[in-house]
């Protein structure tokens, strides 16, 4: 093997080593806990069992899973509906202005996730900015209960993950060949029809990538439901957190984590397959 052939492997080595040491090994370690029993007072008893996985399917926990999926799905849908027009507008803006617009889209990422979430508490609480603004405008009724609601949790999740979706959709839209749209118009299609029949289908891989990203991050999130939901809305992330940090039931927490990771991997796999197929088709279309 020549040096040139070996070089790509060599260059990847630090990254691979990092991933294996700090991600694969800890993940496998935690997952292996799922097959053991919880000690009487926490800790782990090294006796093989599948009981933890059976407990994941218990209606109580299955319901929390489904509820989390519903919240994550709602978040994803809203994020796509907001992000698509934004990404479209950025992609259609003059080339020189696009970097600035993208910069503003990702600007929130420059501050800490927790701080941004606390900012929502400041905005939404009963004595917060929104209620005070309403009051100063002459509203005299009971202050609105905006915080500690499911809507607050979804708002927080959408807000935090929106830039991902904008970026993902923008990246496919900006790469579309403008000649395709011109051809559509030359052949007599109006702007709406061109969008629906040409632009939208070709941008779906970006929508799928952004959507899966938001869904996966939302379903496992535990900070936002804890802070904006006031602990009243338990998501599967909170359940995992509780198992590790309060119930001291690491094996069950590991089994829940495993179920969550499998869900995510399946979704990412489906999305990758769909993207691969779609980009294959678009290449054929462009050829």
């Amino acid at each position: 093997m020549s040096f040139n052939a070996a070089r790509p492997n060599l260059l990847a080595a630090p990254g691979v080593a990092w991933l294996v040491t700090f991600m694969v090994v800890p993940c496998l370690l935690v997952l292996s806990y799922a097959f053991f029993q919880r000690g009487v007072w926490g800790g782990i008893e090294y006796t093989f069992t599948l009981e933890n996985f059976a407990r994941v399917a218990d209606p109580l926990y299955a319901r929390i899973f489904l509820n989390s999926a519903r919240i994550a799905l709602t978040t994803t849908a809203i994020a796509i509906l907001i992000a698509y027009p934004a990404a479209y507008a950025i992609a259609r803006a003059p080339r020189t202005r696009q970097p600035i617009l993208l910069f503003f889209a990702v600007l929130p990422f420059w501050s800490n996730y927790l701080i941004r979430t606390y900012a929502w508490i400041v905005l939404l609480n009963r004595e917060g900015l929104i209620n005070n603004l309403l009051r100063s405008m002459g509203y005299t009724g009971e202050p609105l209960s905006l915080l500690y609601t499911e809507a607050a949790v979804i708002t927080g999740l959408v807000y935090n993950y929106l830039p991902f979706v904008i970026l993902a959709i923008y990246s496919t839209l900006s790469r579309l060949n403008p000649e395709l749209m011109e051809a559509s118009r030359d052949l007599g299609a109006g702007p709406v029809r061109t969008f629906l029949r040409v632009t939208l289908p070709l941008s779906l891989p970006g929508v799928a990538a952004g959507g899966v990203f938001v869904f996966v991050l939302s379903i496992g999130n535990f900070v936002t439901p804890a802070l904006l939901g006031g602990g009243r809305f338990q998501m599967v992330g909170n359940l995992v957190y509780d198992q590790f940090l309060t119930a001291n039931d690491w094996p069950f927490g590991a089994a829940l984590g495993a179920a969550l990771i499998v869900t995510m991997i399946v979704l990412l796999f489906v999305q990758a397959r769909a993207t691969a197929r779609a980009s294959g088709e678009s290449r054929e279309a462009q050829a």
């Binding site: 007072w41 926490g42 800790g43 090294y46 004595e127 500690y148 006031g230 009243r232 119930a247 001291n248």
Partner: protein, 352 residues
Amino acid sequence: MEAKNGTVALRAAAAVVAVSLSAGMATAADLVISNWDGYMAKDIAESFKAATGLELEVVNHATNEEIMGKIMAGGGKGYDVVFVSSPFAEVLNAQGMLEPLDKSAVPNLANLYPEAEKLAYDPGNQFSVPYTWGTTGLCYRSDKVSGTPDSWMNLLQPADDLKGKTTMLATDRWLMGAGLLGKGYSVNETDPAKINEARDLLIEAKKTLLAYDDTTFYSKLVSGEASLVHAWDGWCNYGIAENKDIKFVVPKEGSDLWIDTMVVMKDSEHKDNAMKFINFILDAKNHAWAAENILYKVPNKAAMESLPASLGEQYPNMKMPPEELVKYELLRDLGPAQKDYSRAVSEIKAAN
């Protein structure tokens, strides 16, 4: 701990995790303490060193469960003195993980109230020393709540004008405790049918809550977001400090008696130093720090008597005498019923 059945690698791996979790292992300090953040004077290491010449290392845990997880994962190694609530001290002792107190090395035990030496989980302070004690009740804005709340049902089935303006503690024992006391049961109830009754009451109560809150409930009272909250007496004092309309009451159905304790780990390699530390804390001046600064009652007669009278005037619950305090029911380890509590709490939290 002996490895067997080909699980050596796993145990080794688990041990690595445990080691990395238990900060303070392989340290040069003469003594490692784990305590809640802010539960001791910030300069405790300096003052302890000045008094004894020993290097003290303080690590923090956020909850009892966290420190229990660390201790169980690491077999108790790496810590000398640990601060835990009494039911956890009871568990650690039952597991044989605690060192009996060497009373000759802790003469300041004489400062404790007689009541603090007769606590049912550890009569005679064989393996634990109480650090703080208190009650759990209702903390409220007297200018916003009509009448004086005097029952757990004021919180669990609030009047219409309080709906959406109450918070509850979410930690297992206290959340369940409110429901159990509301039903007239013991805070240590183990009968599954009674636990379920409390659970159902708490699920109904959830619909009227603003939020579950273990850490910022008093600031919600100060800001006016909440009017009536489930609170530990000491934490209610933090609200009283900012707004004199805030008051604390122990409901007529009673309260739990919670006690945070200091214990010495059996695996400690610095047991003599650990006893010196406990003796140092029990010194009236040092123990009074806790009462004055974290506004919790301390079971130290000499320390409590040294407090300025103004403290008790500003925070009336600080004046509750020990003989009244010990009438409330001690939180005890639940044994196997802990699982029923955990399950009930999961069901409450998952309920819509």
